[in-house]
Symmetry: C2
């Protein structure tokens, strides 16, 4: 299950070929980014990063390619409240995230107990479970030091 970052790019290319999808330079540029990085990029970040490799790539193409990869299970989509989606091509299988609600930093802690919980849920509900999300939110060590918010009624707008 565990993927070697260095192996992800060829692996993703292989899968694309296998499914008779074309390997355009735009796709390659995107693959390079999401295959090797530990980050969880937003579409916007990807759009900026991709300029290095293939500057004319459009957002539409990024969306379409991500959607394709998602359907093939080669990229993991993270749905974060009010922040838009983030994408992880390096570890495309479900895994937990720890997210700082202040600065947005995201970690991938080790945790293996989910498979058991998952099958427990399946047994309990009768659902045929295919994947899951497990996210923890809070303050990263750095943001804890720098002090925090005010009171609820004010805080309301602060974000976003």
């Amino acid at each position: 299950m565990k993927a070697d970052p260095q192996q992800r790019l060829p692996e993703m290319i292989r899968v694309l070929r296998e499914k008779d999808c074309r390997l355009t330079p735009q796709r390659l540029a995107l693959l390079k980014i999401i295959a090797s990085s530990e980050e969880h990029h937003s579409v916007d970040q990807l759009f900026e990063l991709i300029k290095t490799d293939f500057p004319t790539t459009s957002r539409a193409t990024i969306y379409k390619t991500l959607s394709l990869l998602k359907a093939m299970g080669e990229v993991l989509e993270l749905n974060l409240a009010g922040v838009g989606s983030r994408y992880d091509g390096n570890k495309p299988y479900p895994h937990p995230h720890v997210i700082c609600t202040n600065c947005g930093r995201i970690l991938d802690p080790e945790f293996t107990g989910l498979a058991d919980i998952s099958s427990e849920m399946a047994k309990k509900t009768g659902y045929h479970i295919t994947h899951h999300q497990l996210n923890f939110f809070g303050l990263c060590p750095q943001c804890q030091q720098e002090g925090q918010p005010a009171d609820i009624k004010e805080e309301q707008d602060g974000k976003r």
Copy 2:
């Protein structure tokens, strides 16, 4: 921690008062819906439902009220890929969901082990964890029978 559905409405009203927020008929109508239902409504569903009680309520008000309740921790927001947010006022504390990717049905299975995992993550990462999400996706028993999708390249668009 466990909330009695019948107690939620007065409880939410109490909290609003406590924070010096006004109890308008629009808010009351919304509270009635999300306090008593086991459902996880979308803003659109809420907009439709609220017409019964207070027909002139606008979407903006619903958004504003939900945002307020969210900040007070009196409603839980569920971020589901491509479906927009869902809201649960009945059980505003983090709890697992089992979601059918075909029909959208959502269950709230019992599960209590998260607190331990949460503190394990805190210890491991140094984050000060405040809340979490745990969602399982798959097919509900009903949708399993009715057979499923085709192949990946086609499936692509089918949804949404």
